[in-house]
């Protein structure tokens, strides 16, 4: 069953456009949603949450159309935009009291369990929490109302390496029994290398690729060679950089001839992102 099914989302702004965004997330998996700043990650997430009006396209969550079952589905979604930046001078306790009333499946026991687990003090104000603690508080809220789909926009940005690792462990633990699915956007690609099952890569409002992580990485090759060799492959490269030893460039695996004498390695997510972003620059 698909936890999230996005079909052909289009949205045009004055200076930016979401073009035919489609991707699917299987239930029980973690999908990393990567892209540079301004690539369209938050816009996509806001379209999923029905916060902006798309020009065309459909969002299905847990098999139901979001536009038709918004209220019902929002009960099943845990959503967090970065850290919490609302009602920051209120105590956790006060905020939770207000929030829990909205959810029919709210479970106090689960909530208290996660408060303890995340070492959150209910009497603290939001503003007194560290970034990591704020993300954990968002998670505690989402999990206490029994969210089946967690949509997290940049949950790990601004966290120290230890907290990030801790959070990623929690994510993996959550999806373990196959009930919960997570879509999280980030530009910290190393997080995804640790825990994502699927990768969806968006660049300039378009989905470049959405697939299983290993397949995603395997579909590209990072080439390096001398300046003279560059001319052989220049046309096929997504983009390249020239350095004193020659060049390095990214190529789609299907465009690469393994018989050539160029040195080819499997790129990491960061390299793929960088070379795609460079492609945009080269075309400008």
């Amino acid at each position: 069953m698909l936890a999230l099914d996005i079909r052909n989302l289009n949205k045009t702004y004055n200076h930016f456009q979401l073009k035919d965004v489609s991707f699917q997330l299987e239930k029980g998996y973690i999908m990393g949603f990567i892209g540079t700043n301004g690539a369209g990650k938050t816009t996509t997430i806001k379209s999923i949450m029905n916060m902006i009006q798309v020009d065309s396209g459909e969002v299905h969550i847990l098999g139901k159309n979001m536009a038709e079952h918004e209220i019902e589905l929002k009960q099943e979604i845990g959503c967090a935009f970065g850290d919490i930046d609302f009602y920051t001078r209120s105590k956790i306790k006060t905020l939770t009291e207000a929030i829990k009333k909205f959810y029919t499946n709210w479970d106090d026991q689960t909530y208290n369990k996660y408060l303890k687990r995340f070492k959150l003090d209910e009497n603290k104000k939001i503003v007194e929490l560290s970034t990591g603690m704020k993300v954990k508080y968002s998670l505690a809220l989402a999990l206490s109302h029994g969210a089946k789909l967690l949509i997290l926009d940049e949950p790990t940005s601004g966290l120290d390496p230890v907290s990030r690792d801790d959070l990623l462990d929690i994510f993996q633990e959550l999806v373990m029994d196959g009930e919960i699915s997570i879509l999280f956007s980030t530009h910290i690609t190393s997080d995804l290398e640790k825990c994502a099952d699927f990768i969806t890569f968006i660049e300039d409002g378009q989905i470049i690729q959405s697939s299983e992580k290993e397949a995603f990485l395997e579909s590209y090759r990072l080439l390096s060679g001398s300046q003279s060799q560059l001319d052989q492959v220049k046309e096929q490269l997504i983009s390249y950089k020239i350095n004193s030893f020659g060049f390095t460039g990214l190529i789609r695996s299907e465009d690469f001839d393994p018989a050539s004498d160029l040195k080819a390695t499997t790129p990491n997510l960061e390299e793929i992102m960088i070379y795609f972003a460079k492609r945009e620059d080269m075309h400008v």
Partner: protein
């Protein structure tokens, strides 16, 4: 909807603004004042402060993430403001009765706080709402223009009404003179004011919803 109203009351609006009706209501004890001012304090102080609070607390994003419809978000907010308006007007009315009993022989130059006057106050708030909500819900966070225009409209109405009340003898008579003791006249003016308040606020709510549906959060 109910949850949203509770959320605004418990989280969004500072408790001071629920004490304000008593403070501004007590201004009704000033003898011979222009009593429209009492309710205008609500428009001048409570409205910009609460709307500023919502903006500063990022209430829009917070609410949008809850399982609620955009229509209910508007309905709840309008209801909360109407609750505050009713609190102000009802408490001011009570102080008005006290005023009439404290100064039984006072000669009122401006409108005396009889029932008909409160009808005019309902009309003033009706106009205030009609301007405020549709303008505010173009963005659902920018409140400066909406509040200033709504205040201007309400004050203009109050100014003109009071001017007529002083200048026109028939109106002066209906509100302060012999008409003050004509219960049927008093009740009908009050009822008409309440009816206008309800109709204008409903229209404001509908226009606000229509605009808010187009707002991108």
């Amino acid at each position: 909807m109910y949850n949203l109203v509770i959320k605004d009351i418990k989280l969004g609006i500072h408790p001071t603004f629920f004490v304000m009706p008593f403070l501004t209501g007590a201004l009704m004890l000033i003898p011979g004042w222009i009593y429209f001012l009492v309710l205008l304090y609500f428009c001048w102080i409570t409205i910009p402060n609460t709307f500023g609070g919502f903006k500063a607390q990022n209430d829009l994003l917070f609410t949008a993430m809850m399982p609620v419809t955009k229509k209910d978000m508007v309905k709840a907010r309008v209801s909360v403001i109407v609750i505050l308006e009713l609190l102000h007007i009802v408490i001011a009315m009570l102080f008005g009765i006290l005023n009439l009993n404290l100064y039984p022989h006072f000669v009122y130059h401006f409108f005396a706080p009889h029932m008909a006057f409160w009808g005019l106050c309902f009309v003033m708030l009706a106009i205030f709402n009609l301007v405020l909500f549709p303008m505010y819900y173009k963005t659902a966070y920018k409140y400066g223009g909406a509040v200033s225009t709504a205040i201007a409209a309400a004050m203009l109405f109050a100014g003109i009404a009071q001017w007529i009340g002083v200048e026109n003898s028939a109106v002066a008579d209906a509100f302060n003179g012999a008409g003050a003791h004509n219960t049927a006249l008093q009740i009908s003016i009050l009822a008409a004011g309440i009816a206008i308040f309800i109709v204008f606020t409903m229209i404001a709510y509908r226009m606000a919803v229509k605009r808010f549906l187009k707002v991108e959060i």
